[in-house]
């Protein structure tokens, strides 16, 4: 057997003494059968049972076998791992990574107390290390790959850190196959210099590999990616066509228009709808122009009656009366969901697909903010504004998003005003259209006025680490919540976000909140102690994060 040391052949010719053992296999079969059934092939001394003589011989045989072990023939060696010229991690950062990986296993499941949650720090560490150009410590690669295996969100950063040595290792272990699929990064995908390999992978690869290939190619060269997709488009299955089409959205260019325009006639309704959606995100597209033509006539500006001095101009909405074949071809769904009028439903879809920049021209040259502020006749305000919101998200239009979001800091403007009843408006999505600073500023004002109750998703789209005003707003709101006497776990979502996203520099300011305070009148029993604990954990986590960043920068021991 190649897997165990092979004993050298026992010399069968020169058995030196009477007590010498027979060949080992003979001894084993004699032992299996038993001395009572077959006389063992060994010499028996006087006064000794055959069984004892067999044991004697086996003892000599055992030691002889073990002391004469020979090397096994070497199996095929793995090809050497490609060199990774990146520098190693600073020692402290290496230790930190080892700690975070060792602590990956789910904890005791008990109350967290004041200890920082290291599991949640691993993604942060990986994100912070990403782009610094370090290579992973070789000894930690197995743990790193295991971590990436169980958490797909870690894969891109973990695999980038693991680098070529990580991929080399992953080829040897089926558990780490995921690393080779290129979902985490472009490492294993053929590059622009290998068009033949690209084509082969596109034609023969698994679905996930093909999506990854298309996505990475589109990022480098949108035209080449589109050409790849167009080559096989006719033969793809409908659900695959949908996914491929969807992946074009990340890097949409005007040159994609003819292809998308063609897809408007696709057999699959979902594909048609997606194509229309993508075209409407291209403000210069023919589809967008057609949609504008249909929607602009539905909204007009009405002058106030000459005699009425107090009246202002109003927007008057006259929704379309029918959903014709042309509209349907451009992706308008004719059937409204139950409970909605069909004319309102058609209007919403038209406005959503209309380039927002066309509205000021149609409506007296007013700015987006002025248009949003105008009263709307009838019950159409919510419908119109919701459609504008969707359009702003789709077209990434910051001016309109800003206008539609308004001023969160105005206490007169209640949350209900921002998202009135019956509205499908998604403020968080609108926020993502704003630049980072402005978004954080808006959310911090929102929290200052409205508290944390509705802020969780908004906080989730703010850039990490949180800006100073945003961090201050969150901490102040938490402090207010404590004074109100509720339990901290009512805010565990925000607390968790704060641990991950607050700027570590806020730790010193938070330190004073860790003291156990007198519970206010009417507070939930024991809440003071729990708040103190929660703040301690927050401070501890922030300090750990600060240490992590310093270590990665090579500033700490």
């Amino acid at each position: 057997m190649p897997t165990t040391p092979t004993p050298s052949p026992t010399p069968s010719t020169a058995i030196p003494t009477a007590a010498a053992p027979g060949a080992w296999p003979d001894l084993v079969s004699a032992a299996l059968l038993g001395a009572e059934r077959r006389t063992p092939p060994v010499a028996v001394r006087d006064g000794q049972t055959p069984a004892a003589a067999l044991l004697d011989a086996a003892a000599v045989g055992t030691v002889r076998r073990r002391s004469a072990l020979r090397p096994a023939p070497a199996a095929e060696r793995p090809a050497p791992a490609p060199a990774d010229p990146r520098p190693p991690l600073p020692p402290a950062a290496r230790r930190r990574l080892a700690l975070l990986l060792a602590d990956r296993a789910p904890g005791s499941g008990s109350r967290r107390g004041t200890d920082p949650d290291l599991t949640e720090l691993l993604p942060q560490w990986l994100a912070a290390a990403d782009g610094r150009g370090y290579r992973a410590p070789e000894a930690l690669l197995p743990a790193l790959l295991d971590a990436a295996r169980s958490r797909t969100d870690l894969r891109p950063t973990a695999l980038a850190l693991a680098g070529p040595r990580g991929l080399w290792l992953a080829r040897l272990n089926d558990d780490w196959r995921f690393a080779l699929r290129g979902i985490g990064g472009p490492l294993s995908l053929p590059g622009a210099d290998a068009p033949e390999a690209v084509r082969r992978l596109w034609e023969e690869g698994l679905f996930a590999e093909r999506v990854a290939l298309l996505t990475s190619l589109r990022r480098r060269d949108p035209r080449a990616g589109l050409a790849l997709l167009a080559a096989t488009w006719a033969t793809e299955r409908a659900e695959d066509r949908l996914m491929f089409l969807d992946s074009l959205g990340e890097a949409l260019t005007p040159s994609d228009e003819p292809f998308l325009e063609q897809a408007l006639s696709d057999r699959s309704r979902n594909v048609r709808t997606t194509a229309a959606e993508l075209l409407s995100a291209l403000p210069g597209s023919a589809l967008a122009a057609r949609m504008a033509e249909r929607s602009l006539v539905c909204v007009r500006l009405a002058r106030p009656a000459p005699g009425d001095a107090t009246a202002t101009e109003v927007l008057v909405v006259d929704p379309p009366g029918a959903c014709d074949a042309g509209m349907q071809r451009d992706g308008v769904a004719p059937q409204p969901p139950s409970g909605r009028g069909e004319r309102a439903w058609w209007l919403g879809q038209l406005v959503e697909a209309t380039p927002l920049d066309r509205w000021p021209g149609r409506l007296g040259g007013r700015s987006p903010a002025e248009l949003v502020a105008l009263p709307v006749a009838g019950d159409w305000r919510t419908e119109l504004h919701d459609a504008w919101c969707r359009a702003a998200v789709r077209q990434r239009h910051a001016d309109w998003a800003r206008a539609l979001l308004g001023a969160p800091g105005n206490p007169g403007q209640a949350a209900a005003e921002l998202a009135p009843a019956g509205s499908s408006r998604d403020l968080t999505k609108l926020l993502t259209v704003l630049p980072d600073d402005e978004r954080a500023g808006w959310v911090s004002e929102f929290i200052a006025v409205h508290g944390l109750a509705d802020a969780f998703r908004m906080l989730g789209v703010c850039a990490v680490p949180w800006s100073e005003p945003l961090g201050r707003a969150v901490v102040d709101a938490l402090d207010i919540a404590r004074d109100a006497g509720s339990y901290p776990w009512s805010f565990s979502g925000v607390m968790g976000l704060a641990e991950r996203c607050l700027d570590p520099a806020a730790a010193d300011r938070l330190q004073m909140l860790t003291a156990v305070t007198d519970e206010p009148e009417g507070a939930s029993p024991g809440s003071g102690g729990y708040w103190s604990e929660a703040f301690q954990r927050l401070v501890g986590t922030l300090r750990l994060r600060a240490a992590m960043h310093a270590e990665l920068a090579g500033e700490a021991p």
Partner: protein, 492 residues
């Protein structure tokens, strides 16, 4: 022993941790605000830590040694509280505390609960090593082996009574060995097939069943415990597992039965053996020798060298934690193994991370192939050492073979392999370490298959030759440490 006035680095603290999980837990505790009454001074650090359930544990560290004491029930040693405390105290490279203000402040006086332990410990340490007798070894083979600290002298109250007790124990073991011999002969008489995996049902038929079913082996093992021969008992228990160990079990069972037979015969004829071999037989049967006796025995071979720590590995043995530390002398090239035992209320006192170089006396336990040592005097603080030199695969197998000539019961012999390339096993195949010439290879011990250690080994190698320390034996090679070029302890 040198005074330790300086603040330790975090690295030095983390190197003490018995495993990664402890490191992580210690790191967490260090960052948490659960500490009170922390302080440092006079070569010691102390503090109280509140556990998850509100219990407060007192932790104190004597930096000289170092030695640890914590009132928590953890079997890890040092425990997470100790590590957390030391991490809070540990400084950065500039010697500043990691957390000014809330780390243990220097220059303090230990509180009474800490001072008591420190005083007792230092009083013990001040005595010269090698006093007669030793504190509390049990039948489990443990020893109170402090870092160069002998236990308080305890002269036998009545040497004559002690001699009689020892003679009585020898008789009981001899009776046990005789009984075991009969058991083995019966087994070989009726055949190993009766002990095979299919024999489980048959073995329940009664105590006179000559077969080797698991139940009857357990019973025999219990008889050996009664005979005060724990070494025989544990070998008997291993026999029970072999029958279920997969293909080729008859060969392995015959090997182990034969070696057990050899041990019984050795013990029964111990008076006729040369003294070193007799000592080996005594130790294998389960008769322990106290570290203090080893140190004080004039016959003991004590060697001063600069010893490179090759591996430190903790394992569980019943309720005890066993720690094995492998060392090799820089000048003499001799291998040494330091074993210590810890339990819930008896912490392991020696911690030597791989890579350290230790200028010290090591006293070899008697034996035909001496390996186990007691720590004697240390002449300098441990310092980082070099990557060890190593041998090839032929030499490693030969080293094991030579060692077997002296001690046939050895399962493996520690060796450093240089320039070997790990070859991962394919589906179901075994792993190997291939020699530099690419022709010959050493299979890895199947017991380490499926463990992270193997993948760490492969990752560090990257297909290139590495230096590996481990145990080379009849089951294959069990890797313990690899150099990259810093020593990396492979996960157990």
């Amino acid at each position: 022993m040198s005074p330790h006035g300086e603040r330790w680095t975090r690295d030095r603290v983390l190197a003490l941790a018995p495993d990664e999980a402890s490191r992580a837990a210690g790191g967490r505790l260090a960052a948490a605000g659960r500490w009170s009454g922390t302080g440092a001074g006079g070569g010691a650090v102390w503090g109280m830590c509140e556990g998850g359930d509100g219990t407060r544990y007192g932790t104190v560290v004597d930096l000289d040694g170092p030695a640890f004491q914590c009132s928590c029930p953890s079997r890890k040693f040092p425990c997470k509280h100790t590590l957390g405390l030391l991490l809070r105290w540990a400084g950065d490279e500039a010697g500043e505390p990691a957390r000014p203000g809330d780390g243990p402040a220097a220059g303090g006086q230990p509180p009474p609960w800490a001072a008591g332990w420190l005083a007792t410990r230092r009083e013990r340490a001040d005595r010269p090593p090698g006093g007669a007798g030793a504190g509390g070894p049990g039948a489990d083979g443990s020893e109170a082996d402090g870092a160069g600290a002998a236990a308080p002298s305890r002269a036998p109250a009545d040497p004559e009574a002690a001699r009689r007790r020892a003679a009585r124990r020898m008789q009981r073991i001899a009776a046990g060995a005789t009984e075991l011999e009969q058991r083995l002969e019966d087994l070989l008489h009726s055949g190993l097939a009766a002990a095979g995996p299919a024999a489980g049902a048959a073995s329940r038929t009664g105590a006179d069943d000559p077969g080797g079913g698991r139940g009857s082996w357990e019973e025999t093992a219990a008889r050996m415990v009664d005979a005060q021969a724990p070494g025989l008992a544990s070998r008997v228990r291993e026999l029970a597992a072999i029958a279920a160990s997969g293909p080729d079990w008859p060969s392995r069972l015959l090997e182990e039965c034969a070696l057990l037979h050899l041990l019984n015969q050795g013990f029964l004829g111990i008076d006729r053996l040369p003294p070193p071999l007799a000592a080996t037989v005594r130790a294998r049967v389960g008769l322990t020798t106290d570290a203090a006796d080893v140190r004080s025995d004039p016959e003991t071979v004590t060697i001063r060298d600069r010893w490179l720590v090759l591996a430190q590995r903790d394992g569980a043995e019943g309720p005890l934690t066993t720690r094995r530390i492998f060392l090799r002398g820089e000048r003499t090239g001799r291998m040494a193994l330091h074993r210590s035992f810890g339990g819930a209320h008896r912490p392991l006192e020696v911690s030597l991370p791989p890579g350290l170089l230790l200028d010290a006396d090591l006293a070899y336990y008697p034996g035909a192939r001496p390996l186990r040592v007691a720590l004697g005097e240390r002449y300098a603080p441990a310092a980082p050492g070099p990557v060890p030199t190593g041998c090839g695969i032929d030499a490693a197998l030969a080293a094991y073979g030579h060692a077997l000539r002296d001690d046939p019961w050895l399962d493996a012999w520690p060796v450093v392999l240089a320039d070997v390339t790990p070859i991962p096993g394919g589906a179901g195949g075994g792993w190997q370490l291939a020699d530099a010439d690419g022709e010959s290879a050493l299979p890895l011990d199947p017991r380490c298959l499926g463990r992270p250690a193997l993948w760490q080994l492969a990752a560090i190698s990257g297909g290139a030759p590495v230096t590996v320390f481990g145990e080379c034996g009849h089951r294959g090679f069990l890797p313990l440490t690899v150099w990259d070029p810093a020593p990396v302890s492979l996960s157990p």
